[in-house]
C-alpha cells in the first residue's frame, strides 16, 4: 500500500457502502429459475431489460451498420481509425434528435454543444473537473444515486453537501432546504459551485415539477452558480405528470442567451432509456462554449468506441424505430411498475407515487424495529439473506429518514418479479406475526447481540463515511 496515491488508498470510491455489498452477496448466490431457484433475486440493479426484442428485431432488419458497411461498401477502416473527440457527426445528430423526441420536441439541441463520453459516469466526473476545484462543493438533494460519491468526488476532490428532502412533502426540493444546504456549506468553509439534480430522480422515480425547476433556476441565478441536470432516466417516464426538462423551463423564462443559460448543463446516456449500459454511451450538453471545449478535450480519457457510435447512429436515425421504441418502452415500464406497486400494496407496503425510472421507492418504515438506521440495516440484512432479494437501503442513498428502500423492477422477467413479490409478502406476514416491528420492543437488546458485527459496522460506517453529512 505504500507509495500509492491517497486516492488509491482511501475509501471515497464509495465501494464499501452497503449498496455494493448487497451486490456482492447476490454474486455469491444469484437466482436462476432453473439452476438456483432459491437464490437471491437482483432488485438492486436499475437496468431496463424490457425492450430488447425491439432492438434485436431492428438489428435483424438492418444488417449493414452491424457489419461495418455503408451503402454496400466496407467502412471498417474509417471506423477503426476514427478517434475524433468531436464524435461521429451522424451519431451526435441522431442523439440530439432522440433527446428532443423524448422531450416531445418542446426543446431542441445543437450537436455542437454536445460532448460524448464513456457513459454518464464519465460525463458527471468530467463536469466536476470542469466546474470545480478540489475542496469546492456541489449541493445534491437526498436521497441520491450512491455512485455519485465516486463519480463526483473521488478523483476530483469535490465535496457533496446534501439538500435534505423528506417524505413530509414527498421528497420535493424546497427553498428552505436549498438555503439550509448552502448555509451548511458555508459553515464548513466550502465554496459552493453548483447544484446537481437527477431528473427523473434516482432513487425516487419521480420527475421534478415545474415549480421545483423554477425554484432551482432562481436559486442558481441568485447565487451565481451552476446547475447540472442528470436526465439519464428521461426516456423512462411512463405516466403523468410528464417529463419537463430544465431546458424547457429556461426557455419559458426567456433565459436564452442570458448568463444563467450558460450555467445549466445536462447529462444524458443510453444506459437506461435504451437499456444499453454495456455500450458506454454518455453525453454532456452545455450552452457554455468554454465548458464544451474543455469537456471535449477531457473526453479523450473516455471516448466512445467508434464501432458503437456507428451502430447507434444508424439505430437512432431510424425515426420510425425511435418513435415506436419510446412509446412501447414506456408502456411496458408502466405495466411493470404497476405490477410491483399492486403486489406490494397487497403485502401492506406502500411506495412513493412515481411516474418514471426503473424502480420504486418503497416505504418499509412500519417494518422497522425502531426509527433508526441500525434497524434499517437489520431489516435490510433480513431481506437480503432470508427473503433473498437484493434491494437498496435508503441509507446508501443518503436518505435522512430510515426505512425507505429502492426496489428495481425492470431487470427481470415477469415471473421473477411475481416470485419476488410473493417472497416479500410471505416475509411481511411472518415478520408481523413474530412482532418484529416497532410495536414490540421487548427483545430489542438481546436480538442486537445476535447481529453479526459487519451489520453493526455498516450501520455506523455509512455515517462515519460522511462525517459531516448531518
Amino acid at each position: 500500500m505504500r507509495h500509492l496515491s491517497t486516492k488509491a488508498t482511501c475509501n471515497s470510491h464509495g465501494q464499501d457502502s452497503s449498496y455494493f455489498l448487497g451486490w456482492e452477496e447476490y454474486e455469491k448466490n444469484p437466482y436462476d429459475e432453473v439452476q438456483n431457484p432459491k437464490g437471491i433475486i437482483q432488485m438492486g440493479l436499475a437496468e431496463n431489460q424490457l425492450s430488447f426484442d425491439l432492438l434485436e428485431s431492428w438489428l435483424e432488419k438492418n444488417p449493414e451498420p452491424a457489419g461495418f458497411k455503408r451503402d454496400g461498401k466496407s467502412i471498417f477502416r474509417e471506423l477503426a481509425l476514427f478517434q475524433d473527440y468531436h464524435g461521429l457527426p451522424a451519431f451526435k445528430k441522431a442523439l440530439v434528435e432522440f433527446m428532443a423526441e423524448i422531450r416531445g420536441n418542446r426543446v431542441s439541441f445543437d450537436p455542437n454543444h454536445m460532448v460524448l463520453t464513456a457513459g454518464a459516469t464519465s460525463a458527471n466526473e468530467t463536469l466536476m473537473f470542469c466546474l470545480a476545484e478540489p475542496g469546492e462543493a456541489f449541493l445534491l438533494p437526498t436521497p441520491y444515486y450512491p455512485g455519485f460519491d465516486r463519480d463526483l468526488k473521488w478523483r476530483t476532490g469535490v465535496e457533496i453537501v446534501p439538500i435534505h428532502c423528506t417524505s413530509s412533502n414527498d421528497f420535493q426540493i424546497t427553498e428552505t432546504a436549498l438555503e439550509a444546504a448552502y448555509h451548511e456549506a458555508q459553515q464548513r468553509n466550502l465554496r459552493v459551485k453548483g447544484v446537481l439534480v437527477t431528473n427523473p430522480s434516482n432513487p425516487l422515480g419521480t420527475t421534478l415539477s415545474r415549480s421545483e425547476l423554477n425554484l432551482l433556476i432562481s436559486f442558481i441565478t441568485t447565487k451565481g452558480i451552476h446547475l447540472i441536470s442528470d436526465e439519464i432516466y428521461s426516456g423512462t417516464v411512463f405516466s403523468s405528470p410528464g417529463f419537463v426538462s430544465v431546458m424547457e423551463v429556461l426557455k419559458d423564462r426567456n433565459c436564452d442567451e442570458t448568463e444563467v443559460w450558460d450555467r445549466v448543463h445536462i447529462v444524458n446516456s443510453l444506459s437506461k432509456d435504451l437499456g444499453l449500459p454495456g455500450f458506454r454511451v454518455g453525453a454532456i450538453y452545455s450552452n457554455d462554449d468554454m465548458v464544451v471545449a474543455a469537456a471535449t478535450k477531457m473526453s479523450s480519457f473516455g471516448l466512445m468506441s467508434s464501432q458503437t457510435q456507428y451502430l447507434l447512429s444508424a439505430l437512432l436515425s431510424d425515426k420510425k424505430f425511435t418513435k415506436n421504441y419510446i412509446s412501447e418502452n414506456q408502456k411496458r415500464l408502466k405495466k411493470r411498475q404497476n405490477m410491483l406497486v399492486m403486489g406490494l400494496k397487497k403485502a401492506g407496503i406502500s411506495c412513493l407515487k412515481s411516474n418514471a425510472g426503473l424502480f420504486c421507492w418503497v416505504n418499509m418504515r412500519h417494518l422497522l424495529r425502531s426509527d433508526t438506521f441500525e434497524a434499517e440495516m437489520e431489516l435490510w440484512k433480513k431481506i437480503v439473506y432470508d427473503v433473498r432479494l437484493n434491494i437498496s437501503p435508503g441509507s446508501s442513498c443518503h436518505c435522512t429518514e430510515p426505512g425507505w428502500f429502492r426496489v428495481c423492477f425492470a431487470n427481470m422477467t415477469e415471473e421473477t418479479l411475481d416470485l419476488a413479490i410473493q417472497r416479500l409478502k410471505d416475509f411481511v406476514v411472518e415478520h408481523t406475526a413474530n412482532g418484529h416491528s416497532k410495536s414490540n420492543n421487548s427483545s430489542k437488546n438481546s436480538k442486537r447481540k445476535l447481529l453479526p458485527k459487519w451489520v453493526l459496522r455498516l450501520s455506523s460506517r455509512d455515517r462515519d463515511h460522511e462525517p459531516d453529512e448531518r
Partner: protein, 477 residues
C-alpha cells in the same frame, strides 16, 4: 483579457493550458486539414506524416470479421448474444476479453512472458490508462521522470487533471539517445533539491518518437534505479508488436523475471491502437504487478470502460491463435518493408535517420539543413516543410527534444504510392537546399565587406487559441 463572470466559475483545469493543444505543434495539422493530399483530387495537397497510425493490415482484420459473423452482435449468427452484451457493464470486463488480451500481449513478446488475465484492467485508450496509473500512484504536486524526447501528450495524459508534474531526463544524439544512469541520477537529484517528490519513472518502450527499443542493459539499469530509489516504473509498451527488425523488443516483464525487483513498483500500459491499428475502438489496458493498483485501477476503469460490443468482437478475434500468429508476423513484415522503402529513399538524398527497429515512424536527422542549431531554426525549417514541401512532419521540439534539427516522420498511415510522392518532394526540396547553399557559398566568396547577419524571412505562424474544431481532433500523435 479579464475572464467573464461565467468563466470565473470554471475550474482552473478547464481554463488552463495543460491540455497542450495550444502548442504550435498543431499548426501543422491545421495546414493538413485545410489542404489534405489526395492522389486524384488534390495531388498538390499536404501529405500527413505526423500521424502515427498503422494502416497496413486492415485487410487481415476485415477478412477475419467476414469469416466470423458470430463475433458481431449485429449479425444473424451473433444477435442472440445482443442482450447479454448490451447490459454488461461490469468493470472487470468480459473474462474472455481479458484472456484474449493477455494472450495477445504474450504473443507480442514471442511467448517469452505470460500475462495474468486477472491483472488486465480496462481504460479509455492508452490516454485513459496513463492517467489512471498516475491517479493511482501519485498525488497532485508529485512528479514522474520521463526520458525526452517523448510523446507530446504525456503531459496532458499524466498531468492535466492529476496535478502530477513531468520532469524530463534529456537524451541526445551523442549516444543515440540512450537513457543513461547518470542522466537519471542528475534529474532525480535536482528534483530532490527543489523539494519535488519524485514518485516514479515513465518510459515508452519501444520509444515514441525514436522508434528504438530499449536494450537489456538499459532496462536492467532502469529497474535497478527505481528499486534503489523505491519509486515506480511505468512502461508504456503501446508499440510492442510494431517491431520489424532487430534488435527485438524486450519487455520490462521479461527483465523482472531475470533480476531482483520489487514487483509492486512495476506497471505496464498497453493498447490496441498502434499494434492493431484500431484507435477508434478505444482499447486501453493497465497491467500492474501491484495488487492494490489493479484493485484501484479497476474501480477507476468505470470512467473509461471498453464498449462491451468491442470487447466481444476482440475477445473472439484475439483468441483465434491462428489469426493472431499470422497477424503479428504479417504486420512486422509489412512494417519492415515500408520502413526500408522510406529510409532507403531518404538515404538516396543524403538524409539519415536514427537506426530503429520499431514504431510507425522514423526519427529523421535534418540538423545539417538548419541555419543555426537553435529551436528557432528548427521551427523555421518546419514551417518550410509544411508550407513548401507540403508534408506534415513533427518537429523534435514538440517532443521536448533538447537538440534542434530532428523530426519524426510517420510512414505507416498511407499507401506505397503516397510514400513515393513524399520521397520525391523531399528529394526536390533537398536538392533545392543544396543549390541554395552552393550559391550562398559563392556569394560569400564574392563579398567584400558585409558582415551584417542575414535576417531570416519570418513568415511565422504564431501559436494561437485553437478553436474547438481544431485539427487536434484526430490522433494526437
Amino acid at each position: 483579457m479579464a475572464l467573464s463572470k461565467n468563466q470565473q466559475l470554471l475550474s482552473k483545469i478547464a481554463t488552463n493550458d495543460r491540455h497542450g493543444e495550444n502548442s504550435p505543434y498543431f499548426d501543422g495539422w491545421k495546414a493538413y486539414d485545410k489542404n489534405p493530399y489526395h492522389p486524384i483530387d488534390n495531388c498538390e495537397g499536404v501529405i500527413q506524416m505526423g500521424l502515427a497510425e498503422n494502416q497496413l493490415c486492415f485487410d487481415l482484420i476485415q477478412k477475419w470479421i467476414r469469416r466470423n459473423p458470430k463475433a458481431s452482435i449485429c449479425t444473424a449468427e451473433g444477435v442472440h448474444e445482443f442482450k447479454n452484451i448490451a447490459i454488461f457493464q461490469d468493470y472487470n470486463g468480459f473474462k474472455e476479453f481479458r484472456q484474449a488480451v493477455a494472450n495477445f500481449m504474450g504473443k507480442a513478446r514471442g511467448g517469452r512472458v505470460t500475462y495474468d488475465p486477472n491483472r488486465i484492467v480496462m481504460s479509455g485508450g492508452a490516454t485513459g490508462a496513463n492517467e489512471t496509473v498516475m491517479f493511482c500512484l501519485a498525488n497532485p504536486g508529485d512528479a514522474f521522470l520521463v526520458p525526452s524526447p517523448c510523446y507530446p501528450a504525456f503531459d496532458r495524459d499524466c498531468g492535466w487533471r492529476t496535478g502530477v508534474q513531468l520532469i524530463p531526463v534529456n537524451c541526445d544524439s551523442s549516444n543515440n539517445f540512450l537513457i543513461t544512469k547518470a542522466a537519471l541520477e542528475a534529474a532525480y537529484e535536482r528534483a530532490q533539491q527543489d523539494h519535488i517528490n519524485v514518485k516514479g519513472l515513465i518510459i515508452a518502450n519501444p520509444s515514441n518518437p525514436l522508434g528504438t527499443v530499449l536494450d537489456r542493459d538499459t532496462l536492467r539499469s532502469l529497474v535497478s534505479f527505481i528499486n534503489e530509489k523505491k519509486i515506480h516504473l511505468v512502461s508504456d509498451e503501446i508499440y510492442a508488436a510494431s517491431v520489424f527488425s532487430t534488435p527485438s523488443f524486450v519487455s520490462v516483464s521479461e527483465i523482472i523475471e531475470e533480476m531482483e525487483c520489487d514487483r509492486d513498483l512495476i506497471h505496464i500500459v498497453y493498447s490496441l491502437s498502434k499494434d492493431m491499428g484500431l484507435p477508434g475502438f478505444r482499447v486501453g489496458i493497465v497491467y500492474s504487478y501491484n495488487d492494490a493498483v489493479v484493485n484501484c485501477g479497476r474501480k477507476m476503469s468505470s470512467f473509461g470502460l471498453v464498449s462491451s460490443q468491442t470487447q466481444h468482437l476482440l475477445a473472439s478475434m484475439l483468441s483465434d491463435d491462428e489469426f493472431v500468429d499470422n497477424f503479428l508476423k504479417e504486420n512486422s513484415k509489412r512494417l519492415a518493408k515500408r520502413h526500408s522503402m522510406f529510409t532507403k529513399g531518404l538515404e538516396k538524398v543524403g538524409i539519415a535517420c536514427l537506426k530503429s527497429s520499431a514504431g510507425l515512424f522514423v526519427w529523421m536527422d535534418l540538423r545539417r539543413l538548419l541555419k543555426e542549431q537553435t529551436l528557432e531554426s528548427e521551427m523555421n525549417l518546419w514551417r518550410v516543410i509544411i508550407n513548401e514541401v507540403k508534408l506534415n512532419v513533427s518537429p523534435g521540439s514538440s517532443f521536448h527534444c533538447s537538440e534542434p534539427g530532428w523530426f519524426r516522420v510517420c510512414f505507416a498511415n498511407m499507401d506505397d504510392d503516397t510514400v513515393e510522392v513524399a520521397l520525391e518532394r523531399i528529394r526536390v526540396f533537398v536538392e533545392k537546399q543544396q543549390v541554395k547553399s552552393k550559391r550562398k557559398f559563392q556569394n560569400n566568396l564574392n563579398l567584400k565587406l558585409s558582415c551584417t547577419p542575414r535576417r531570416y524571412d519570418e513568415s511565422v505562424m504564431s501559436p494561437h487559441m485553437m478553436s474547438p474544431r481544431s485539427p487536434l481532433v484526430r490522433a494526437r500523435t
